[in-house]
Subunit: 205 residues, 2 copies
């Protein structure tokens, strides 16, 4: 009788196992990862150099479903909106990865292609290089913060007896709204895109 | 000779020890916390009911330095800007707390007072309750995402050979800028405030 074959260790399997650990515990270590994959730490090192590389693999897995828009077919605002919304949906699935990702330099190729596309959209819009980086970062920060909001409990806040009328009234009116997080993200993104468009117009004049 | 006195266990000491653990490891457990404080888990329970309460205590510690503006002295945009900037500075010190905070209902009194003030500022601006909650959430998400950006390594991205010219040019122009994160946050906040002001004007007409 043939022995059951062991699933082949791959960078994909390593990234998926690390994602599962971070989703559950907010962190991962190489010994934990080796244990989860039923391999020795040294066999991990046949595939990856260390933790920083695994973080980049996880980033690639998290970003792998993003479809990039064709800048010949849609205007720059629509391109940025599409990327931001797909990016938001990807991160909302893995909120505990967010601080791990933001604390490491982005080197993953799949992720870099998303930023290439954003940079191209802002270049088409006429933004100077420095303003382009600023625009990318503003979108990035809003997406990440909103992805965290998307994973919040339905009762984001619970008012107490000292709460202002202005606040309790707002909670009563808005907290149970279906698609609250998505709608809010969409509104904020619209404000930011309008602000960026205003900046572009100023540069044109 | 008197025995050296043990520091008295308090909710403040518990919150500070938990903050230290999360800053270092992204997470804390009650046994780890008891060990860090050199007490038994049961003595922790004399002060707190459990993990959820400790998270609220940490939230209060993280927010304790925020000064609330006087709405009789500054206009609502300036009030929101001041709160957002202080909030950003507080969270930028503890990035790994952010997903822990966003995954739990806000019940801490110090934190609720900050949201009361935001809600009052938006009420003064004439926002309806539901729009008020949306405005609060947009500010909140942008602050949290930008606080994560503030703790990123100086090389946020590292271009590769396939990177677009639009992106590499942007990185070269903006990445080494002193106060990059703070300036970017300030710009994005201005866009959002302008968007909110536009919404207010529309409501007035």
């Amino acid at each position: 009788m043939a022995r059951p074959s062991k699933p082949k260790l791959s960078t994909t399997a390593i990234a998926d196992a690390a994602l599962t650990l971070v989703d559950a515990h907010g962190e991962f270590t190489l010994p934990q990862l080796a244990k989860a994959l039923s391999v020795t730490a040294s066999s991990l090192y046949n595939h990856v150099e260390g933790k920083a590389e695994i973080i980049e693999l996880m980033r690639g897995r998290a970003m792998s479903e993003i479809q990039l828009p064709d800048l010949d077919r849609v205007d720059w605002q629509e391109a940025v909106r599409q990327i931001a919304m797909e990016y938001w949906a990807s991160y909302a699935k893995h909120p505990r990865l967010i601080p791990l990702f933001t604390s490491h330099t982005v080197r993953d190729q799949t992720t870099l292609r998303v930023y290439d596309a954003l940079a191209e959209a802002f270049a088409v819009a006429g933004f100077e290089p420095k303003e382009r980086l600023q625009a990318i970062t503003i979108i990035d920060s809003f997406v990440l913060g909103s992805a965290l909001d998307a994973t919040a409990p339905r009762a984001v806040w619970e008012a107490d007896t000292q709460s202002s009328h202005a606040f309790t009234e707002a909670l009563a009116a808005g907290l149970q709204e279906p698609n609250r997080a998505e709608q809010t993200f969409f509104h904020g993104l619209t404000f930011i895109l309008r602000g960026l468009t205003g900046k572009q117009k100023k540069a044109d004049s």
